[in-house]
Amino acid sequence: MSKFRKKGNKATPAISTASLPDIVFMLLFFFMTVTTMKEIDLKIVIKKPQATEVKKLENKSLVKYVNIGPPIAKFRKMYGSESIIQLNDQFAKVRDIAPWVNAERQKMDASNRSKMTTALKVNKETKMGIVTDVKQELRKVKALKITYIADKTTKNNF
């Protein structure tokens, strides 16, 4: 009758952990590939200013950076210590802004072009002159959405 044999005191077999490394490696590769490290290497020094009224930048692909600041030490000899502009990986002049904006626009999907935001990442010690020039250039090519990169702080500046 006893079709169902009463189990003896068989020990439960240990769960094989042999596939654990595979799983973890999978995760590892996922993170390694996702972490693009796409930050361009800045050739200029940017000490970010602080502000309270800042928002997180959403949709990174729509944000294009204009970096302005003094060149890092090894470029000082060539470019001086006044603030200059860096677009992507190169130093640029004010007149390069408009073509750059147009080129960046071309790279985007047509539906997203109007949503492009230009982020001004400016060293806090930079003089306004160059920033104003850049803004005027941006207006000319109708890149009107801008954002001033600043670190969020909760305390007041004064």
Binding site: T17, A18, L20, P21, V24, F25, L27, L28, F31, M32, V34, T35, E39, P49, A51, T52, E53, V54, K55, K56, L57, V63, I84, K93, V94, R95, T117, A119, K121, V122, N123, K124, E125, T126, K127, M128, G129, I130, V131, T132, D133, K135, Q136, L138, R139, K140, K142, A143, L144, K145, I146, T147, Y148, I149, A150, D151, K152, N156, N157, F158
Partner: protein
């Protein structure tokens, strides 16, 4: 030499090594979220079109000179006073004669409400420090944010940051972000051009 049988490499610690790497990447991936102050530039000036006349009482002129001193309507002012001044200017609670006029405008949900015609014009010298400019900009933005938040609490009992859709639009229109990214004071000199 006796050939030893190949012993199987113990893969048990492999997981540990992989975990170590994984945690390293997890920690270093800062997902660097940049934060920024969002602004909108005015469209380029069209030729032959004169800028609209703005009455003096509707303008709060904020100037920052080359030595980073701030002047509001020709009166020197400290950075920490600007928010209050801007709020007083934009809200004009007592409808004073020397502060902006109000004009009724159609706004979603709220209907026909008076909207301030005040504009804050922020101008800098070419030698003004960027940080100072941003700080002043920040104070002005905060003035608007605080007014909006107060209005939002009054109308809907919700903080402005939590508003969505029509309500957000209503408050945004009732209290516009009237800070003008003004034309530079001096004509743009070709620097580095």
């Amino acid at each position: 030499m006796a050939r030893r049988a190949l012993t199987e490499i113990n893969a048990g610690s492999m997981a540990d090594i992989a975990f170590l790497l994984l945690i390293f990447f997890l920690v270093t991936t800062t997902m660097s979220t940049n934060t920024g102050m969002q602004r909108k530039l005015p469209p380029p000036p069209e030729k032959d079109v004169k800028p609209p006349e703005v009455h003096a009482r509707n303008v709060m002129a904020v100037l920052i000179n080359k030595d980073n001193f701030i002047m509001v309507n020709s009166v020197p002012m400290q950075l920490n006073k600007i928010t209050e001044k801007a709020k007083e200017f934009l809200a004009n609670v007592n409808r004073r004669e020397d502060l902006p006029v109000f004009e009724n405008k159609e706004v979603p949900i709220l209907g026909n409400v008076p909207v301030s015609k005040g504009i804050i014009s922020l101008q800098t010298d070419r030698n003004t420090q960027y940080e100072k400019y941003l700080q002043v900009q920040n104070e002005l933005m905060r003035a608007v944010a605080e007014l909006r938040d107060a209005r939002s609490m009054k109308e809907f009992g919700v903080h402005f940051d939590d508003l969505e859709g029509d309500r957000l639009e209503a408050i945004s229109k009732a209290i516009p972000l009237a800070i003008s990214e003004a034309e530079p004071r001096r004509s743009v000199k070709s620097v580095g051009k």
